[in-house]
């Protein structure tokens, strides 16, 4: 009996494996066949259907396309610009990876040989380079009659580079150069044939600033009157961390502004999320919503601190130009808006130091501020550091020093004094507060009464130091998106109870101390 069973098992295994192997063979033959049958389309040779994804968007401003050869067509100009930027991009990637992938599409054979020498040399020396250009100002010198050859000079090419020796950063440089470039049209691509670096002749742009607010001796002045920020971080109660989404309701926001105004506050802080606003291609509808909010704040006589790049976390050099286009679009749109007090470049960027590298984050911040000020010299600029220690960074680049404070009350004065000695710029306590999350689930939490006491003490400290402040936040929230504090229920629950007004719309005891009574 057992013998027969065994025999049957052997049979099943034999037949099963035979069928299995056959199935595998058939599958592999069919996949080989289908691979050969789905070959490249003939039209692919013409490069007509290349999908164009924007990965590299430095600022390009043509100075002129006048030339003695042939009038430049708008379409060709666009194609040249695209291929020229792609040429920079593939070279940047090549220097980062020391791999020549993609170079042949944007460099002619001879030019490619030159670039390859650099790559090979760097590879043997174990050098890698992260490279990005920030602005290009091409001026056409010549466009041939048959439309196959162009020569142009690219003026004031701003270039940022970080050079690694092994894994260590050896250098960081930001410089400006002019390049004379000759490109040829070969099988549908404009390819670089010659590229020559030339000395820069400095051309300075005059910027006329129409300042809405100014800084005099560590005080903020508006219309020549000293201005103390008494503010609050604001999200609508229904849509925290999604202020400009589908449920955007300007009437609701307007009535919230009334509450804020009646509480004798004068400033709000709002958040613009990088991805939500469309990254490099800022979505017009979102800008319209932001404009509505700013206009409403203006009618209620509230100043606004707009925090940009919320939830952004890449910082890599090859991603820079995309963020530059994002900030350009937003700040140029609102550079004349009187209700904006300051642009806050990023909320708590120091929290990304560990994951992304302090150097990367600082370099990105430094450059984004340069870009921001280039497009909007009217408004003040700040960075929302998460603590007093980090707030010592990059002071020379910003107008206001913002920091957040969620630590023990009794250590505030010491932390503040240390920071205030290290800066001459106005300080803003940009976020502070305590969650009244006492309950059955959290017997060790803070009660609403303790929260009120916390604010009373803080208000006293604020008036002693004459400090600008913005508390966190107006409302208790019902739902906290997972992206804010993670998915752990006790963390989410804590974040729900920072408000002055509870989930049912009643003012909590702390409301009395939302500002100095």
């Amino acid at each position: 009996m057992v013998k027969k069973m065994n025999k049957n098992i052997y049979r099943i295994i034999l037949i099963g494996s035979f069928i299995g192997i056959n199935v595998l063979i058939l599958l592999s033959i069919s996949s080989v066949l289908s691979y050969f049958k789905t070959g490249a389309d003939r039209t692919a040779m013409l490069h007509l259907d290349l999908e164009n994804k924007d990965v590299y968007l430095p600022k390009v401003k043509w100075r002129s396309v006048d030339n003695p050869g042939r009038p430049m067509e708008v379409k060709t100009q666009y194609e040249i610009q695209q291929d020229y930027l792609d040429a920079w991009y593939v070279r940047n990637v090549a220097y980062k990876t020391n791999d020549s992938f993609g170079l042949q599409d944007f460099y002619t054979d001879n030019a490619r040989k030159k670039v390859l020498k650099y790559i090979n040399d760097n590879a043997t020396k174990d050098i890698t380079i992260e490279n990005t250009t920030l602005s290009h100002n091409p001026e056409l010198d010549f466009y041939s009659a048959d439309g196959q050859l162009i020569v142009f000079t690219d003026y004031q090419v701003e270039q940022f580079r970080r050079i690694y020796k092994g894994k260590e950063v050896a250098f960081e440089t930001l410089d400006t150069a002019n390049y004379k470039v000759l490109m040829l049209l070969e099988d549908g691509f404009w390819r670089i044939r010659h590229m020559i670096k030339e000395p820069v002749i400095k051309i300075s742009d005059t910027i006329f600033a129409n300042k809405f607010a100014s800084i005099q001796e560590n005080k903020i002045f508006i219309n020549n009157e000293p201005f103390q920020i008494k503010g609050i971080n604001y999200y609508p109660q229904e849509t925290p961390w999604d202020m400009f989404g589908d449920q955007f309701d300007i009437d609701r926001i307007a009535s919230d502004f009334d509450i804020i105004k009646e509480a004798k506050l004068n400033t709000i802080r709002i958040f613009v999320q990088y991805e939500d606003f469309g990254k490099a291609e800022v979505i017009p509808e979102k800008l319209e919503k932001l404009r509505l909010v700013l206009d409403t704040a203006q009618t209620k006589n509230l100043k606004v601190v707009v925090t940009l790049f919320d939830f952004y976390g890449d910082y890599s050099i090859l991603d820079w130009t995309l963020t530059h286009r994002h900030v350009e679009k937003i700040v140029t749109t609102f550079k004349e808006h009187p209700s904006i007090l300051a642009w806050d470049v990023k909320n708590e960027p120091d929290l990304d130091f560990e994951a992304r590298g302090k150097e990367s984050v600082i370099a990105w911040l430094r450059m984004i501020i340069v870009q921001l000020k280039k497009y909007d010299s009217n408004h003040l600029v700040t960075i929302g550091w998460s603590n007093t220690k980090a707030a010592e960074l990059l002071q020379d680049k910003i107008d206001l020093v913002s920091f957040h404070y969620y630590l023990e009350l009794d250590q505030f004065d010491t932390a503040y004094t240390i920071l205030s000695k290290k800066t001459e710029k106005p300080l803003i306590l940009q976020e502070f507060g305590v969650s009244s999350n006492f309950g059955i689930l959290n017997p060790f939490g803070t009660s609403e009464k303790t929260q009120a006491n916390y604010y009373r003490t803080m208000q006293t400290k604020m008036s002693i130091h004459e400090l600008n402040y913005m508390s966190w936040t107006l409302y208790d929230f019902n739902n906290i998106p997972t992206s804010v504090v993670g998915s752990l229920p006790w963390r989410k629950n804590k974040q729900k109870h920072f408000g002055f007004i509870d989930q049912k719309g009643n003012k909590k005891p702390a409301f009395k101390f939302i500002t100095k009574q």
């Binding site: 760097n122 050098i127 010549f142 009659a145 048959d146 020569v151 004379k180 040829l184 044939r193 670096k197």
Partner: protein
């Protein structure tokens, strides 16, 4: 006395101490001093470039160099208190500015610039682009010669280098002396009034390019004449009339390109339009039309669309003036027409068109078209289609109509 001596000794000792301290202090300052010894700032491509610094400080030294195609870091060779940085070969081969920056222990020390220029001592190479490959005669159209002379390291030669651009056309051989500017030298070669082929070449620093060529085609056609050729003038529906253009030329007398499309528009007596077309060979286009089978008058104009047209040609086709018999047999269901005869009473060649119209109660119920064979055409009225009854038939052949009233089929 001893007391005095000891004071001298103390003073001396003091001086010594101060002096030594001062000297040490000074030498500290000297230590920080870095001088670039290399005087040259401009180098020929391909020649060795090294920067030599006099320096006493120790530490990890780097030179950052940034050229036309890329950036790298170079390490120094130290000989006593001299630091020598040899530039990598590929940097010194490529024309353009190289900026450098010296850092010691990652501290910025000095920066500067050198320039690599095209090496005029090496053999010049020429890369040229000439296009388009064909142009139109008459001096309005042109082809452009663009030439990029480089040194043997593939660097465009310095601006204002003389370049000769030469071209030949028929007996003309011309030479233009130009200077390079923005890396290139260029020249528009305009067409002459004759068609033909222009050969172009360039020369720079005694290097000659290969031969380039563009074909000069005739300019737009100008008005021309047409002529008809036919075997006879009778409307026999059988012979072919051919219509030919004169040699079509442009305003300079060049024969238009072979294959120029000519359209012949024909208006008949009823003002209907007939069309024929031909393409030119050595300037002549030809179209052919079948003779009409009835008396007709044609007015013909030929066009090279949008450019030129011909005179109006008038053609008249005479009627054959013939008669024919009609035979009705087979219970009146077979109608035989013919024999059909042409202008000399000869049996008409096969293919003359005969049409039969069938009416019933003054209403056209059907018509049939046949072509002649050996001068005859026969129609059959099948019972299934044409039930018994009274019909009126009408026959048209060679422009002659005949009518058979009230034919009773049974």
């Amino acid at each position: 006395m001893i007391y005095k001596k000891s004071i001298y000794v103390i003073w001396l000792a003091l001086f010594l101490i101060i002096g030594v301290t001062y000297a040490t202090y000074n030498s500290n300052i000297i230590e920080e001093k870095i001088t670039l010894i290399t005087k040259e700032r401009v180098f020929n491509a391909g020649e060795d470039v090294s920067l030599k610094f006099k320096i006493t400080a120790h530490g990890e030294t780097f030179l950052l160099i940034d050229g036309s195609y890329g950036i790298t870091i170079v390490q120094a060779t130290r000989i006593d208190d001299h630091l020598i940085f040899n530039f990598p070969k590929h940097f010194i081969e490529h024309k353009g500015e190289i900026s450098w920056e010296l850092r010691i222990n990652n501290q910025f020390k000095q920066k500067g610039k050198i320039k690599i220029i095209a090496n005029a001592k090496t053999k010049t190479l020429i890369e040229s682009y000439f296009g388009p490959p064909s142009i139109i005669a008459g001096g309005r159209d042109y082809a452009m010669m663009v030439t990029i002379p480089t040194d043997s390291y593939d660097n465009p030669v310095k601006d204002h280098t003389p370049v000769d651009i030469k071209h030949q056309f028929l007996k003309i051989i011309d030479e233009d002396h130009l200077d390079t500017d923005y890396l290139i030298a260029w020249k528009n070669i305009f067409s002459y009034t004759k068609s033909g082929r222009i050969l172009v070449s360039t020369e720079c620093n005694e290097t000659d390019s290969k031969e380039f060529t563009t074909i000069v085609y005739a300019d737009n056609a100008v008005d021309f004449t047409i002529e008809a050729f036919r075997k006879h003038e009778f409307a026999d529906g059988n012979q072919v009339t051919s219509i030919m253009t004169s040699i079509i030329r442009d305003q300079y007398g060049n024969i238009v390109t072979d294959g120029t499309y000519v359209e012949f528009i024909i208006r008949n007596k009823e003002n209907n339009v007939l069309k024929a077309a031909g393409t030119t060979i050595r300037g002549v286009a030809e179209a052919k039309m079948l003779h009409p089978d009835h008396e007709e008058e044609w007015k013909i104009i030929a066009y090279v669309t949008g450019m030129a047209k011909s005179n109006e040609l008038f053609l008249k086709y005479a009627p054959i003036k013939t008669d024919y018999a009609i035979e009705i047999t087979d219970n009146k269901r077979t109608i035989t027409v013919g024999p059909l005869k042409s202008f000399m009473k000869q049996i008409i060649p096969n293919g003359a068109v005969v049409t039969l119209y069938i009416y019933q109660k003054n209403k056209l119920v059907d018509y049939k078209v046949r072509t002649s064979f050996k001068g005859k055409v026969s129609f059959e009225l099948i019972e299934d289609f044409y039930p018994d009854g009274n019909y009126t038939l009408e026959i048209e052949a060679l422009g002659v109509k005949k009518r058979i009233e009230k034919l009773e089929l049974w």
